[in-house]
Assembly symmetry: C2
Homo-oligomer: 684 residues x 2
């Protein structure tokens, strides 16, 4: 191809912009952008296919900056190539309400595919993006129509390589033979603490080879543009393995402090920037100065990308004629809409139906809607038979060469890799054609907390099928019994936590999870059987909370979720028969959704004048927002048959009734205001 | 050595006991115990040094069952070798309040070193145990006195190998050249979902070699006892690398279903157990039947262990004469007591002292107490300069060969491995001679949630130095700003969450963290400067909550933590000056400790009759337990200079005053009962 001076100029422009923006913000990480400017330039200018005017074009190559602290690299590229990110946006780097925050955020910034910064997440998201590409291609491509054939490129640093989440995801990527995934390791020997030899002396390439990856080394990542280009091309040729390119670079290249951790996380000093600009032929008096030839050079590549999309649009138009249904499906999926009428498949129950574990009810939902919602792609972290996540007769997502499945298969065998699964789901969701769900025990969603947090922040529609949701799992004992988990995720913004009490509520949980385009969900499901409740309907449950059992002149409201609702119902009988107490029952399967209801509805469910008691067999923390008193479990559980464990902690009709009486007694003679009433609104 | 029939009998006794106990409990995992019985037998009978009569003997070899679901293997061994675990305890397997719960729990069962079951944790704990051994040996051994030279043995399955936490810990173990660590991989090709080829096809030995481990393969782990013995001996000889022994086994060996996932997690059927016993020469009519010769064979090894301890005790007696101080120190450490007078080193502040970030205040504490508390061994997940965790002039814990430190060094470079760090800290704490602390940003303690949970459950004194504890970290933005994290860990039983507001409170946090022998702590610390508060003292703060600013006839109580306390104080002035409102201020740095105070003290801090408002710049969830109204942040933060971010969300004296007025207004004319009053006690 032949690189010329304008290539060097472009690379140095990126470096100078990174130095300028971090200095202007007096905050940020110039080192990685300056070190990775050459590889970024080669990738964006000569390799990647994208159209800045339509950052959502389906068949674009995906770029993930897993070392997200180096985001000035990405912002500089987005600006130079003509995305909707101006020079003023660069000047607003790391200021409130800018589109150039301290780490890349997908929902804020055009051209940012996934939210990165928490180390190890981006490369794991990239595995998900690559899986999504393989799946989408297998489903939609037809002879003569390679509609979907994009690559996923990821940059990552030593930190990403050290994080366990990336080990999980990359081991799976090797197994899955994702030839469309190309990662570049910025091997600069520097982390925040100094030289990597202090803590990170493993043979990285050997490790990735052990995962089944193809590896390439570029010795001089600072200058050898041809070598970099050649590495990308070689990587593209390897179709049955992901590639890791080891790129040896000098962090903060051009700075007086280059090669030290001094350039990692702090802006360059003024005199350093001055010498940098002089060295690279820039005017040291000017900041944020981009030579026109650099813009032109970049925009030429962007224009080629736009032309490529135009070609693709023609191809898609032809495809739409020949494969009408597929084309419509693909368009629909990208909008995030579900197929019309899909919800008619949701099962509905009456109290006459048998008692069933809610994990089993979840399986029934999955089976019923699986054909109607083809973008549902599920899996489990090696607990398929316990989570009941696999739709009957579904095909595994596997490389055809394994003989175990195909890429159009919709069931992913994640292995025992919860955090990897969570981060991969974020990548699957980000691709735009898939709604991912994944199963594990509720307790082990905590292993994936880092990824769940980013689902919420980046507004990814990912669904956790979280079974064995309490001490009700019984014999496995305290190591497996969640106490704090629901509280944790209820406290996480933009994350729905569902704990359905029966079949109708399970259907409701899936209904809301699937129709909420911008919010992840955790559906907590029981191991033990639960009766179908009198008074529950999908329509009521999708409000997040509702009156399950009304009672004129009630003395108390019992509020509960999941497997404890039926205990509350039994307590109502006991209270009436033994104590002549009238109790009403509220089921509150999802706090977050209930919080969005109008206040008068909320007050109709949790009215003034009646004391209330929550019943949930885990941490009471957070329940004070809805009820006056709380019956829960603020200690670890116990190992034993589940009925014995429930009895040990008095989670029985008798135990509930006892506390209901104490609650009524305690609130006697006191004006009872519903906790729904608050002095002021929260900032949202 | 020569194995005889009694060895085979012992192995088969373990298998039969595992089958009996899981059948009796109608729950549990027979497959791994039956498959690993041979290696377990060789290890316990011919290799390991331990004294069942004193399971806490310092120089015992440590055994960790990382695949904790196979705990019937461990329980059978503990029984056979004469630990305080009877045949009735085996019969009580997986029943409430037994010492044989569904997964091994260290605080419950003599001979169980660490709590395992959540996959990947045990092997990572083992890395910590091996590090602790290396450190303790380097500190205490003297010429002629190899007081501490034990090995750490860990069994692990495919699940443990897939989990990222083990990747992190094992990469570090290789770097640290831990020759005293010997792990056995039960390579049985089976996980819950079936054959490992579905998701786990990496080259495990190659991966471990890339980490710097020594590897050995035993082809026939079911029968080749000599081969197993030889492998252990070879592993012991390699002094500068941990060893991974790949042991090829058949899961559920002896069962009709052997080699399938049918034996993984469900008891064998009656006819299967019958044929098993017949095949192995046991009476099929008897259960829990241990031949006397098997007891004798095992007890011989136990007696040898007891004799070894006796020898060691003599050695230690001599050592105590020659190295009085060291010996006393070692004895003291094992009791968990701190050196007398250590607390005099805790810094004390007055309002005249300068405003300092609490992460810096934490550094000052560490520096001041580091010499006085020699068992403190700290580190950071590659954020040393940000967490400020390294005591001035301390030596790094490194293999001497690296030239970067020594094993008696007390500062650990964990690399970017939060989850591994957490699990390693549990191992360090379990060894008995170290109090570990580790630093990262508060937001990334979430990456280690799985390990923190086990710190709490297993009562490990591990301390998290969790800096950058709120939106106050500023520019790094929402990806790094905790919202839900404190709520999460406050909801976790037996975990102290501290958020000190100034220097005295920081000293108090360390005081309670260090003197709480059975509880982990998370100390949340600010990036930004905080003034030294009028009214704070260590003595008050160690109560978890106290009145910082009292006010006769107060209209409102403002309750706050950490960096928001000084904002509350400023709001008091504003309320007085502009609104003639009297406000008192409570600082509540630790919920869990405050909860242990007598009720009358709690009511003196949060009295009846005065409405209260909490002020904490993160999730309000959980604050309803202490206050009537809550000012917090139930959304993600923003990237920008921290003062701008605080202003955006109205966390200013004005914003607090506004909500204080709304609170007073809302509670006017209503009888105000302190939330401390409850209808009934929680089950603890």
């Amino acid at each position: 191809m032949g690189f010329t001076e304008v290539d060097t100029k472009t690379i140095n422009t990126i470096r100078v912009l990174a130095a300028d923006a971090t200095a202007h913000a007096n905050s940020g990480h110039p080192g990685a952008p300056m070190g990775m400017a050459p590889v970024a330039h080669v990738l964006f200018n000569k390799i990647m296919r994208f159209n800045p005017k339509n950052p959502k074009w389906l068949n674009r190559d995906r770029f993930v900056l897993s070392n997200g602290h180096g985001c000035m690299l990405q912002y500089a590229l987005l600006h130079l190539y003509g995305y909707a990110l101006s020079i003023d946006d660069l000047k607003a780097f790391r200021t409130v309400d800018s589109i150039t925050p301290g780490h890349p955020e997908a929902h804020d910034t055009p051209g940012v595919e996934v939210t990165t910064g928490p180390l190890g997440q981006g490369i794991s998201n990239a595995v998900g993006l690559a899986m999504a590409q393989a799946h989408t291609a297998a489903v939609f491509n037809k002879p003569g129509y390679d509609l979907v054939d994009n690559y996923t490129y990821a940059f990552l640093g030593d930190g990403c390589l050290m994080e366990g989440v990336s080990s999980e995801a990359c081991s799976l990527a090797g197994h899955l033979q994702l030839g469309n995934l190309i990662a570049v390791w910025d091997d600069n020997h520097i982390t925040i603490d100094g030289d990597t030899n202090q803590a990170f002396t493993e043979d990285v390439l050997k490790r990735y080879e052990s995962y089944g990856w193809h590896t390439i080394t570029v010795e001089d990542g600072d200058n050898d543009l041809e070598g970099i280009l050649h590495a990308f091309k070689k990587a593209q040729e390897v179709k049955d393995k992901p590639t890791l390119i080891q790129l040896k670079t000098i962090i903060g290249f051009g700075s007086k402090q280059q090669g030290t951790h001094g350039v990692h996380g702090a802006p360059l000093k003024a005199d350093d920037i001055k010498q940098l600009k002089e060295k690279f032929g820039f005017d040291p008096e000017k900041s944020f100065d981009v030579p026109q030839e650099v813009y032109d050079h970049c925009r030429k590549a962007s224009n080629a990308g736009a032309a490529a999309e135009e070609e693709w649009n023609k191809l898609f138009a032809k495809y739409s004629e020949e494969y009408k249904g597929e084309a419509a499906d693909l368009v629909r999926r990208q909008k995030g809409d579900l197929p019309e009428g899909w919800e008619k498949n949701l099962p509905v129950y009456t109290p006459a139906d048998a008692a069933v574990a809610s994990r089993k009810l979840s399986e029934i939902v999955i089976n019923k809607i699986f054909d109607a919602v083809p973008e549902l792609v599920g899996g489990s972290a090696d607990l398929t038979g316990s989570n009941l996540t696999r739709s009957k007769g579904s095909i595994d997502f596997q490389p055809p060469a394994t003989g175990l499945g195909t890429y159009d298969g919709r069931y992913i065998r994640y292995g025992v890799r919860e955090h990897g699964m969570g981060a991969i789901m974020n990548g699957l969701a980000a691709y735009g054609t898939i709604i991912p769900y994944g199963g594990t025990f509720l307790n082990f969603v905590s292993y994936a907390a880092g990824a769940v947090r980013l689902s919420a922040l980046s507004q990814a529609r990912a669904i956790w099928v979280a079974t064995h949701d309490s001490i009700g799992l019984g014999e496995d004992g305290p190591t497996h019994q969640p106490i704090e988990v629901l509280t944790h995720f209820r406290a996480l913004p933009n994350c729905m936590v569902w704990r359905p009490a029966d079949g109708n509520e399970t259907s409701a949980a899936y209904y809301v999870a699937l129709t909420s385009k911008h919010t992840p969900s955790i559906i907590a499901l029981s191991r033990q059987n639960l009766p179908q409740l009198e008074g529950s309907t999908i329509e009521k449950a999708i409000k997040g909370g509702y009156v399950l059992h009304e009672q004129e002149g009630a003395d108390i409201t019992l509020v509960s979720t999941g497997s404890e609702v039926c205990i509350a119902i039994d307590a109502v009988k006991l209270l009436a028969e033994k104590h002549s107490i009238k109790a009403r029952v509220v089921s509150l399967p999802c706090f977050e959704v209930f919080d969005t209801q109008p206040k008068d509805y909320q007050l109709s469910v949790l009215p003034d004048g009646i004391p209330s008691l929550s019943i949930e067999v885990m941490s009471t923390m957070g329940w004070e927002k809805y009820t006056h008193e709380q019956f829960g479990l603020n200690r670890f559980g116990a190992s034993g048959p589940y009925k014995d464990v429930y009895a040990k902690f008095e989670f029985t009709p008798e135990g509930v009734a006892k506390r209901a009486l104490q609650t009524i007694d305690f609130w006697k003679g006191v004006p009872v205001r519903s906790p729904i009433n608050r002095a002021f609104q929260q900032i949202l």
